[in-house]
Amino acid sequence: MSVALAQGRPAGKTAGPSATSFVAAHRKELGTVGVTVPFFAYTTCFLLVPTIIVVVGAFTGADGGFTLANFARLAEPNTIASFGTSITVSIISAVIGSVVGALASYSLVIGAKPDGLLRRMVSAISSVLAQFGGVMLAFAFIATIGINGVGTMLLQQLFGVTVDPNWLSSLSGLIVIYSYFQIPLMIIVFLPAVDSIRTEWREATESLGGNTFQYWTRVACPILAPRFISAFLLLFANAFSAYATAAALFSQRAILVPLMIQGAMRNEMDPNQQGFAQVLAFAMVVVVAIVMLLSHIIEKRAGRWQ
């Protein structure tokens, strides 16, 4: 490539220190901004405006004026209950996902080459399954342990155990289903963190007389803790904003916040529902934003370590 010939040139501004260079530099900057206009215009239309619509809608009353009355509906027992359920499901599935995922990532790293077949296979599968939410995931669990599921029938024929057909739409069923995409997500997110642990640290601990317990409590855990917590928060946000899986499982009951939003959107013409979807959506954004901000702060502190 002819480009290679010129690679020895020092990088940097090529413009000389003449009067025209100022104009040229300005034209360059204008050109840069000009190229970015379509990107910012697009994101304004389809990201910023929808967000503004949600926020404005949350503060708009039925008469079109400013109001805080919509927020009163957040205090209704129904809404509080669905926020409670959403947060419970998200926390428990994030705990299961992060603990199991962290153990699995650690198992993938110990005693294996960094580009071993097993490890590459598991991380490729994980990146597929972490995206595997929604209708297809609901089908997978209905096929496993639904009324006519393969697992349900096997359990009945082999052990005579009857699985409650409604278990899938119970809280514990939902948690298990959510764990199905949380564990793979944790594996993808946490593998690089476990990778950063060097075997030399363990050897150093040992040659200084530390035992396994001391190694874990004094060396490995303090290093991994911030990354683990920020991964946990990511998993929480992931479960909290998940809609499609639950929507495919429960057609009627609005036990989670996203399902409540769906109901409010469907009944938008009802004057009593005015602004309710927007208030719920606004509250969701606030929760996710707080979680993401926390995760960002913790990650920054962890960055100081490296």
Binding site: V35, F39, F46, Q131, A143, S179, S207, G210, I261
Partner: protein, 292 residues
Amino acid sequence: MAVNPETAHRTVGAANPPQLRAIRLRRQRIFKAIVLTLTLLFLFIPLASMLLFTVRHPLSGQWSLAPWQAIFTGNGESLGADLTVLWEGLGSSLLLCVVTVVIMLVLMVPTMVIVHIRSRRLERAIEWVATLPLTIPAIVLVVGLGPIYRWLSADVFSTDPVWLCFAYVVLVMPFAFRSIAVGLNSIDVKTLVEASRSLGASWPRVFFRVIIPNLWQSILSASFISIAVVLGEYTVASLLGRMNLQVALYQLGQSNSQVSTAMSLLALMFGVILLVALDLISTAMRTSKEGK
């Protein structure tokens, strides 16, 4: 690190005997085998059940390949299922994949290249905007997109599902941004551009003949991840009342769960192929970068 200095002094230089280390290694191997087996079992049982579910009729208990035949021949009459909704959904999802990828590339690649060369501050702004959809759940975005789409479909475009592409570009943006950013950071774009400019190449020529060929791997991986996201999208399409693959799968699942489970498995397989290809590409990228 935080090892007690007293113990450290006492045993310094006296490493654990090799037998102890061997015991530890064996324990680690057992631990590894148990954890990985349990995790992989949990992940594989539902997939295996899906496969079994499609070949064994749940009520009569008869084994047959009828759902797969129905999908591959396109004729669901033997099962009494009407597959037109499935083909309609699949068609619009595939079209959406193409349109979304094209818009995403046209919007992101030139912008990211130019700010990467010229302005660190703008680059950070674009990173912030492009990863913002991770903080705004799709269900929230739909609430805001509803009025926009009502206006778009009434006054500008039709209610055709292909217009979902505008929302989908936003959804794939964080993933696409990361893929392209990895590529941009792995090559020295600045030197490449300055060198070709000083040799007299025009901007379009630099872009299409120098930058794109050097970025093709990340462009490909950005496209793959976008396709995977678009094929699995349900939230936006169902709440805006448009048809796509997932909406069709859900509707079909109400009448014939075997066919829709079989189709889900196929879609999943396609996703596996895409993401394994992505893994191979990123490995190739790493080795080619190290080989330089």
